[in-house]
């Protein structure tokens, strides 16, 4: 009796796991089966044409790449520095505890609130206007907590003997960090960076009011131009376009390109981490 109950219980838990995997399967299957026929060389290399009912999504791809670049340039150096402080310098103090609580809370701030913050700070106060720079910095703030956490984890995995070895040879603390700790932590930091990049590329709410444009006939000229972005383009095609049914295939194509971009970044990161773990285990 007990055994049967146990079997039944474990089966239900297993079923729950299957349901979760099934949901992901449905998402990936639906998008790829309906999106694949849309993807062509033209779709990837042409701007939208005829009121966005024909043509491709090149400006949206390029816009997303530009913004992600700004995001990474802002959040990675800052994230690494903050992580160096937390892992190498900080002692167990109230200040450190408050910093950690702040980081976790920053990670929980809704993305649309980051959007509001970006409008006030970058668009209005700094007078950048709605542009790639404003959106990139807003997304940079949003990904910062993730970059810090990932970099700190990478630093924590560096064995203490690396630090002590350098210090014993007379190196200062900073020299030890720069020459011995950072190089060892670099692949782990890279993983975090790529995951942050994937997150930034898929976000829509923070860029809505800080620089993304409905339609632009040409590619952005500078970081002070407005831009098109893949997630926003999908939103437009799915809900705002006057001929929604007609552009549905294009929406599927855009969704597929976006998913492929995000998932390939994710898999690179997961692969690096997996490879690292194996190597370190020896």
């Amino acid at each position: 009796m007990k055994k049967i109950k146990e079997k039944l219980g474990f089966t239900i838990l297993g079923l729950a796991t299957v349901v979760v995997l099934f949901i992901l399967g449905v998402i990936l299957y639906d998008i790829s089966s309906k999106g694949i026929s849309v993807i062509s060389w033209e779709f990837l290399t042409q701007p939208p044409k005829a009121g966005m009912t024909k043509g491709g999504i090149l400006p949206a791809i390029v816009g997303t790449l530009y913004v992600s670049l700004i995001t990474v340039l802002f959040s990675v150096p800052l994230g690494i520095c903050a992580a160096i402080y937390l892992n190498e310098y900080a002692k167990k103090s109230t200040l450190t505890r408050i910093i950690r609580v702040s980081i976790r809370n920053l990670a929980g701030v809704p993305s649309i609130v980051y959007g509001l913050f970006g409008v006030v700070l970058f668009v209005q106060m700094f007078k950048f206007g709605t542009c790639i720079l404003s959106s990139g910095l807003t997304l940079g703030l949003l990904t910062l907590p993730w970059t810090i956490t990932a970099s700190e984890e990478a630093l924590r995995s560096v064995p203490n003997s690396y630090r002590e070895g350098a210090l014993a040879l007379g190196a200062t603390k900073w020299q030890a960090i720069r020459t011995n700790v950072l190089p060892y932590a670099l692949p782990g930091i890279l993983t975090g960076t790529i995951l942050g990049l994937a997150r930034a590329a898929g976000e829509t709410a923070p860029i809505l009011f800080t620089g993304v444009a409905f339609f632009l006939p040409h590619l952005p000229g500078s970081i002070f131009s407005q831009f098109m972005a893949l997630p926003y383009h999908l939103y437009i095609l799915a809900t705002q376009h006057p001929a929604i049914e007609k552009v549905r295939p294009l929406a599927y194509g855009t969704a597929l390109v976006l998913i492929l971009l995000v998932l390939s970044l994710n898999s690179v990161a997961i692969f690096i981490r997996y490879y690292l773990r194996r190597k370190r285990r020896g």
Partner: protein, 292 residues
């Protein structure tokens, strides 16, 4: 030399402290931009009136009650789905699955976490919506229940990974003791392991709630966005996040309506801050209790 070292240390300390500055900065900018709206409209009307109609020509109204209720309703519905599903999945991965299954399934769940919210919202329109319309015989399926299903999907990865960590961190001795007393693995799971990890699981649920409350694109695309007090899960609802997303692009800067949107942002910030801080404290206690 020592001087340079000290400067470097100060520099890194500063970058660490920046996180506090950013968090406070977000809060104070929201508050600063909310004040003009509070002055003009009065705090009481914001939180007691359910009528949100800032663009009315004759008498604009700014009650956010229906928006708050909509957000809580959609989030609550999402949790009804994702909490049992997520915890079962976490328990399976931590206690039942073979190491190989775990190694394969965990990265797959990370993939689910990586799906952009706008894609999930799109599926709400093309897949979930039509299905709901068919089942309940409605003209369209853009309503609260659609939003709940999508938010459940969005919050599942968070709930699964944090609960799994909590369940895995239960010391082996607890299980051994229970099994030695003749309990089955199933009884051990329910009577020993889950209770021992309950604070971690609660933290996981709270983080899931925080995620669902703050989600914008999925609810914006899938719930229909009618700004009225919802009566059932089949009503079209408009959440706080969706309201900001819809209206901020249309209002001129520095008008009462513009400031009123920052009030919504402030309320959102406070809700998610409270939820995250609580889960943080609960998780901290949990780790201290288990001595890890």
């Amino acid at each position: 030399m020592a001087n340079k070292e000290r400067l470097i240390k100060y520099f890194f300390t500063f970058t660490g402290v920046l996180s506090i500055i950013f968090l406070l900065g977000i809060f104070f900018l929201l508050l600063y931009n909310s004040v003009p709206a509070f002055r003009k409209i009065g705090i009481l009307e914001f939180f007691t009136s359910a009528r949100w109609n800032p663009t009315s020509y004759t008498k604009p109204t700014y009650g956010i009650l229906s928006l708050v209720v909509s957000t809580l309703m959609v989030t609550g519905g999402a949790m009804l789905i994702s909490v049992p599903l997520g915890i079962s999945c976490a328990a399976y991965l931590a206690e039942v699955a073979t190491p190989m299954v775990r190694e394969i399934v965990k990265p797959i769940i990370e993939v689910l976490a990586g799906i952009p919210s706008v894609v999930v919202g799109f599926l709400g329109i093309v897949l979930v919506g039509p299905a709901i319309a068919k089942i309940f015989n409605l003209p369209n399926g853009l309503n609260a229940i659609n939003g709940s299903i999508l938010l459940a999907i969005m919050s599942l990865p968070t709930i699964i990974s944090i609960s799994e960590d909590a369940i895995t961190s239960v010391p082996e001795e607890y299980k051994m003791a229970s099994l030695a007393l003749g309990a089955t693995r199933w009884q051990t799971l329910w009577k020993v392991v889950i209770p021992a990890s309950s604070s971690g699981i609660i933290a996981a649920i709270m983080l899931g709630v925080g995620r669902a409350v703050g989600e914008t694109m999925t609810v914006l695309m899938a719930t229909g966005n009618a700004p009225a007090m919802p009566h059932s899960f089949l009503d079209s609802v408009r959440t706080m996040t969706a309201t900001i997303a819809i209206e901020l692009g249309e209002v001129p800067y520095n008008t009462t309506h513009y400031y009123a949107l920052f009030v919504i942002g402030l309320v959102l910030f406070c809700i998610t801050f409270a939820v995250n801080l609580t889960s943080d404290i609960v998780l901290h206690k949990h780790q201290e209790k288990l001595g890890t």
